[in-house]
Symmetry: C5
Subunit: 314 residues, 5 copies
């Protein structure tokens, strides 16, 4: 229950906030002389005035909901291998899937940092020795061309050759396969676009800055009651900053969700797990390769149609 | 009228809110001594100040409307069997539909808890003995593969065999059927994505926490009139918390709708009824199986075209 | 100009609001004794405080804009017959259209109440005697199957038979027609979904309740000036409730538009007129039936191509 | 720079606002006696209180952004001829385009008033004498049928005849052309829907009314300083209504953009220019007619392929 | 880190804001006499009142989020060459791509000013001498026709001729190519529409004006404490305008992102780099031209299939 909870996300900030608030209260009550307390009061009231007039929540609301909508759109368009490979009925299937990891990875390379090396190794294992040589040999492959495009080119050549050798059930299949390959490329391209042309970092910076400023303002802001006859309550208010912490908590948590939605390839629990995605692609590839060589009768040996078919073939 | 009404949703919270509010009023008026009442007043005024400055409603508004938009999108993309099966003109139809319950169920398994066992049993009844064996036998089916994908594989094999045996009206039908199957798979996948990669639970937690905090603040917040000459009104205000309850009511109801939109597979009246969905799939499957073997003349024996056709065939 | 104007929508509420407000003013000024006036003042000030802190407008804004976006989406996806029938080049066209009224009607049956009987009658007139018998005979049609699905089944059978009798210009036409029929069914299904899985009635209830509460609060809320030397102005403010009425007017009108967007099949001027929709479907069906039997030369007897064609045919 | 600027849009209202504000200031300072000034003060303070509590901006924000989103959606779906005609490879092209003006015009007829006559004339010029007769003759064309549908019918007949006479390069072209024609019809229909089932006029009315009321309130609202020792500043505030005008300016300009987005076929500079649209359609039609009869070698006489082709043909 | 940061965007405005604020503080404290200070105080308090009642943030929020949503939509629909050219299997490919730069450029010509000349030159280099002559010769090309449409016409003629000469693998390829070309044209057209029918400049003007006005109001607005016993704090508040600057910072930065989203073809770091886009198009064209003439065996000389194919061909 601790994982993926909002407490895990915010406890550090909340503790720092509480400590600073209580320190300021102690400073005011016990350490400052009369002049210092007057100065403190003036600044605190100045802060109080502003803590209520800043329309930060509206800005945060629009920011986070815009970021979330982009994320949801992206989630539904992220390429899966499933819709792609079942139809590549010729033996291309396994190879195609292998190279696709390349694309997926290079799409996320810029946003993930730690897991790149691992991922890269695993992908290179999927390549044969020869393929790797071609990819890395500057004489055979123009080094300025993006790697995934090279792989797409190989696949196009493969499909063309398969077509020229008449390996498709129907001629129409060739066009279908090229269509699917192009759709996959576009889908990968959109994921790359999402990662690269994302919400401007300056906007994220501005929102973060504003929220931290707001935190500083609320930590300072306090009202000073005229009547000094209720010391218990006043001590409670001064040393248990429930209300201002709650205010800050709302802003800060909302900011966290916005930031998480802006960068979905990170290491948080809610983020898209790139390694798992790659793993499931590998497993899909193996499954599809198997499927290509199987018959329905391998799975269900005693199908009623079978007899009929056998007799029809005779 | 009680069912699906907002009163049913909120009455428990409203009663608790009222009791706490009135208890605090009694505490203040009759139980506390002079010092206690002063302390009470200070805290109440502190709460009043914050109850107006917390921009909770904006956060709630964006949260609930974002959750609702996701839900509406999901509702229109949830797979129905209709668009799928009418065209599976060969005998595959009924079998295909049977297995689809599997997919639908596993898609929602994580969110529904109570109805899983029931649903699973019913689905297994749809499977033949042999199919169940294959699914559960670790030698025949890789246990790490998701069950629905196994069924999709079977269907792909079936379609391939049907094509190879030349059972389609037209060759083009084979591609159409594979397309429809893949579209159905993608549609199921999107429903699973919706259930798994939903709005972060931490966000839901944060919003709930904020609303409950707000409730505590408003239940404490009260203003103390200087003039003590209108005891009736003051008693009314103190013991009939209409206004603060209404404030809390707005926030809390809005939160409820947001929560309901986040988790549409629950047991509420407005939620998607998974059991009914499965039932209607079963009925559709039966209807389509019947349809495959029927002729227009079975329904309308005396169609005018009939004679013409008969004469043309002679 | 009176029709479809906001005045027509709101005048009743505005008059009631004005009468209550003025009655309360008279009560305060002329009927209450000193103690009563004090009590009145306390309650009025209590209300004033809350009338400004309730974030009702934000809730209303999100509610109405969410409802409107759903409505706009629905409007663009509501099925028209046009895109459907032009291509059903065989004689199926007219029959198909006839039955479609069934679907449209049953889709909206739950939301329209008064016009159902009329509509049903008109639709049944479109059915032949035999069709009606089949639909209503429990032996021929399973009574639990939804009626529109029965009609869709008939159409599928018709298309299959037409295909088997080789009545299409091209084989490909058969698939096209099935596609169009399925798309039409899905489109009807979405309209039904919109009507059934609409915004939760509890949410509508909550919003309505909140707005009426707000109205009660503002009708009571008033400020009492200290200086009693400007009787004319004070009378004006007390007896001409322009400002609070305007406040309530904004909230209430916004609520009205939200409610109208939630239920677009009602009797308002802006609502979708189901009867007119059915009428235009009937006319379209007739027009298309005529079109099927016409030649371009029937409309333009003296086309230049004609001669060329005639000579080519010789 | 004056054109399409916000100043052009708002200067009239701003001047009226300024004059009224200054007149009221003069009235208060120089024309009223002591009783009048007291009354004025009471009303002004009453207005000030309400000018801050009316949540008009939220209503306006949702209204304008909803209207703009609808407009943007419409802009991307408004039919262009380009994607349509290039493929009508037979001689139908020019005729088809001609009639399309009809549709476009009738789609916008209800919203444009002044330019209808001009547009209609120009369109009728595009029709031949015979076509116009058929359209206007009640014996040949049912007068209740919408004119554009008649033209669509003609085109369908034309395509059918072209197909029956085997004028298409490929049979498949016929279906493509019908598809494109239907898509064009649907696209026109959506534009008509946008114009007819637009945001309810009552909603626009309500928003306009609210903004004007708000203007009246702010023009009256003013605060009266206690200290009378700063006559210059007070005069400045009374006679140079910068602040309230700015407040009103924000509301009013936002209203203007909302209104403009609701009705995009008007005479504003930002509106869709229907006349230019029709003109560009005419030019496109001419260009496409020319293109149909041209060869690549007409444009580039010395293409290298040419020789090869000539030799291949020999 | 300085690039693309929010500080780079805002530092100029922030410095000007600070200087003006401090100057006004000095003016008040040291330069004005008693009357002047009274006047200053009155105006400052007037500004303070308005600085809190202007609902600017809501306007800004809707403005920026609307602009961003449009931008995101545009980013995903901007035409890439990839999905287009792979399939133009005949030699048309390179030529097609060349001309497409024309379209891309003319689409953005109106928004980019400095880089037009450069881009135009580079594009003209891609054209052969003859092509340029045809484009610029008023006798051969109607000067009123948009240049990109001329190029599209050439491509259509090319495709038609290729089809007539039977150069496609399959007949169906011709239709596919025309489809892709039309989709590309539509996609370019949408980008042009985005640039031309963008958010109204008057709206941008209004928002900018409102933010600058708000800046002026906040720079003037200040509260004057009654107690003069805390000179340090008061000096701090008067000379270190952290709070009002932060307020202005939020508004101004939000405005900047809105403006950037309205005009995405500018010179900012986040904007779409038109020159890079053109460069990548050129490189793609070269790569595809190479690909057309290559075989899979050129890349992988020792493929296992090869032997099988060779033996099959024998």
């Amino acid at each position: 229950r601790w994982k993926r909870s909002v407490y895990q996300l915010l406890w550090k900030h909340m503790i720092v906030y509480g400590i600073v608030f209580i320190s300021l209260s102690i400073l005011y009550k016990h350490l400052l002389n009369e002049t210092g307390r007057k100065n403190f009061r003036v600044i605190a009231e100045h802060c109080t005035g502003y803590s209520r007039s800043i329309n930060l929540m509206i800005m945060l609301g629009f920011f986070t909901s815009t970021a979330m909508q982009r994320l949801f759109t992206m989630q539904t368009t992220i390429p899966g291998t499933g819709s792609n490979d079942h139809r590549t009925i010729c033996a291309v299937a396994a190879l195609v899937v292998d190279f696709m990891f390349q694309i997926s990875l290079s799409a996320t390379k810029k946003t993930i940092s730690g897991s790149v090396c691992v991922g890269k190794c695993r992908c290179y294992c999927l390549l044969t020795e020869e393929e790797r040589n071609v990819l890395e040999d500057p004489h055979k492959t123009d080094p300025t061309t993006p790697r995934p495009l090279v792989v797409i080119d190989w696949m196009l050549l493969l499909l063309k050759e398969t077509f020229l050798q008449n390996r498709f059930f129907m001629d129409f299949n060739y066009l279908k396969n090229v269509d699917i390959l192009m759709a996959y490329k576009k889908s990968c391209g959109n994921t790359i676009k999402f990662a690269n042309q994302n919400i401007s970092p300056a906007l994220v910076q501005a929102v973060i800055l504003a929220v931290y400023c707001f935190g500083c303002v609320t930590v300072m802001a306090r009202t000073f009651a005229k009547e000094e006859e209720a010391p218990t309550s006043h001590a409670l208010i001064a040393y248990v900053p429930l209300m201002p912490a709650m205010q800050f908590f709302i802003y800060f948590s909302w900011l966290c969700f916005g930031k998480a939605a802006v960068d979905p390839f990170g290491d948080d629990e809610d983020d898209i797990n790139v390694k798992d995605l790659v793993k499931s692609h590998i497993e899909n590839a193996k499954r599809l390769k198997d499927l290509y060589n199987r018959q329905l009768s391998d799975v269900f040996p005693a199908l009623p149609q079978r007899e009929y078919n056998d007799s029809a073939q005779l």
